[in-house]
Symmetry: D3
Subunit: 129 residues, 6 copies
């Protein structure tokens, strides 16, 4: 699939692009959205979801970017690591924070497999009420 530029986009796609640009105060949308425009229905749903969930809420936007990076590292998505690292830095992430993030992500991937290998039963105190 090829990316779809604003000038070639349908009114439906342009409306999403316009909202992304206004919300994020950017002059053009990043490549992810230009490719997603090949599926205008999913483009609209996805942008709606991300706009609502990645903004301020119970968790602050920077924390959400860090969570996003941790998942993207675990799944090995170079584009997502790059775009959300840029997003995290724009929201105040420092090198020290990213280095800790990488360490925690690495450790979690290790202990996930160790808990798995030993088939550790959940402690009574950890069971949710």
């Amino acid at each position: 699939m090829q990316p779809i530029e604003y000038r070639d986009a349908s009114p439906e796609v342009r409306a999403v692009f316009d909202d992304i640009k206004a919300t994020r105060k950017v002059e053009d949308v990043n490549n992810f959205w230009k490719y997603m425009a090949n599926e205008p229905r999913m483009l609209a749903h996805l942008w709606g979801s991300l706009k609502e969930m990645m903004g301020p809420g119970a968790l602050d936007p920077l924390t959400k970017e860090l969570i996003y990076i941790a998942v993207s590292i675990t799944n090995n998505c170079p584009y997502c690591m790059a775009s959300h690292t840029a997003g995290a830095r724009a929201k105040g992430a420092t090198d020290a924070m990213l280095n800790e993030l990488y360490a925690v992500t690495g450790l979690a991937n290790m202990t996930n497999r160790l808990a798995n290998a030993y088939d550790v039963p959940v402690d009574e105190g950890f069971k949710q009420k």
Copy 2:
């Protein structure tokens, strides 16, 4: 493998268990450590790593627990989800925060695959200097 209780543990393992109990102010270590005690070398290294990296640093301990949960969800580790959710709640996580965490983790898993499927090239502005 069977879990190793304090009373049956070697001095090497007991030293780690004692440090976990003193650091976390708990009466007994949780099951994960009792199983890890089957490999005393790894037990010591792992506790040393987690003790240093999960405490206060560039990221606050609650943020690190949330990152841990996001990775554990992505990798499908029920024990890790249970133990780190308990850890996150003890550090102040609310239901609202956990619900947002789950939403962000879900969205990241989706966009990871969409970026992947469309083979989206990294934008110039996202490339790290």
Copy 3:
């Protein structure tokens, strides 16, 4: 490992290459098979499996290609995405079909983790008899 070309292949490998070429009506096998030829036993088993399972059956060949792509996206295998997208297009897949496939694959990856995070119990009606 290096790819093994027909001219350098053992009779055992040539027999598999010949069958691939005859079955698929192509002049040369694609790179995957040339690398697999480094392990002639596995080459023969793998081709035997794919030849029998990817052809017509309870599911039509195009549906099987789409399933293959969905798994390859989830596992992040660029070679497999490229080769099976070519295979799907040769069997009639349109851009509209591929865009829907990507959307469904993305959504499945999201809901997989949400079901996981909330530890949703299987409804009685969904349990297999």
Copy 4:
């Protein structure tokens, strides 16, 4: 988190539940939605996405269910396997079709790793224009 039943749900959640029930012609929503109701914003976005993308389109609804199952197997999500297998059967999936689906999913997981292990370069003919 606990599931949220209709009688305890907010008007916002009830509206989504009502639409699920009307669309699918069922008396109650399945457990997944009752847990998702803990995050009403994500509930609404997710149902909106699935309602639009899983219905008729370029791919028929049964094919989409099969794709969903393949991804759920690959990610190891028992709830998703159970719910989408029920969905696939309701849309006409037979045992023979499911058995082929499992075989194709297994083979794709194998060849994904073999392509990966041998670092197979993409053939010129497979590159997308």
Copy 5:
């Protein structure tokens, strides 16, 4: 799907079951094969592949069982961990060996993500000729 017992199996399936029993010197096949018998074509191919590749070769059978366990831990397959641990023990694996295997598998899962997070370029000396 239900498991298929020998008494209910087709001649085609019985032939595979007989070969498994003779090769492994067991009185009955384990559950995996009884479920795989729902897809007799895949059953035959899979048994043929495993019989040839898991026996003696360039790697000894115990090493192959350990590799199998490491992959099964990484993918979180409890059945596979159980069956191949039994297989490894039957070929001489000790608790000390399994504990080291778990440690190495955990470490590999961690460094895989750290290499990924830092996007480490491959050293010249590591590139294959």
Copy 6:
């Protein structure tokens, strides 16, 4: 993040680099460690763990390298595959061994999903005492 060369490293990082060079008898550390040096605490813990667990023990060092490669293939980590393949070859791995390793890794990834898809119950004889 940028790699940290010895000349620019802190005394803490230099001490780890010196130990890696002395242990492995190499003139310079490989790229992985230069990037890990951005997080000196994790660098020290990680090297400590790998030094102890990857050396001689219940499993020989070559077997551990093969296990490492199998996990790295499954997780799709090109850097890790390259570095541990070099490590395995330095410890005696032949092409025939690596080809079998790839085949076993591929087969394990397939049967992991088939056991998963059929939801095969663990045989009594496979349950650990």
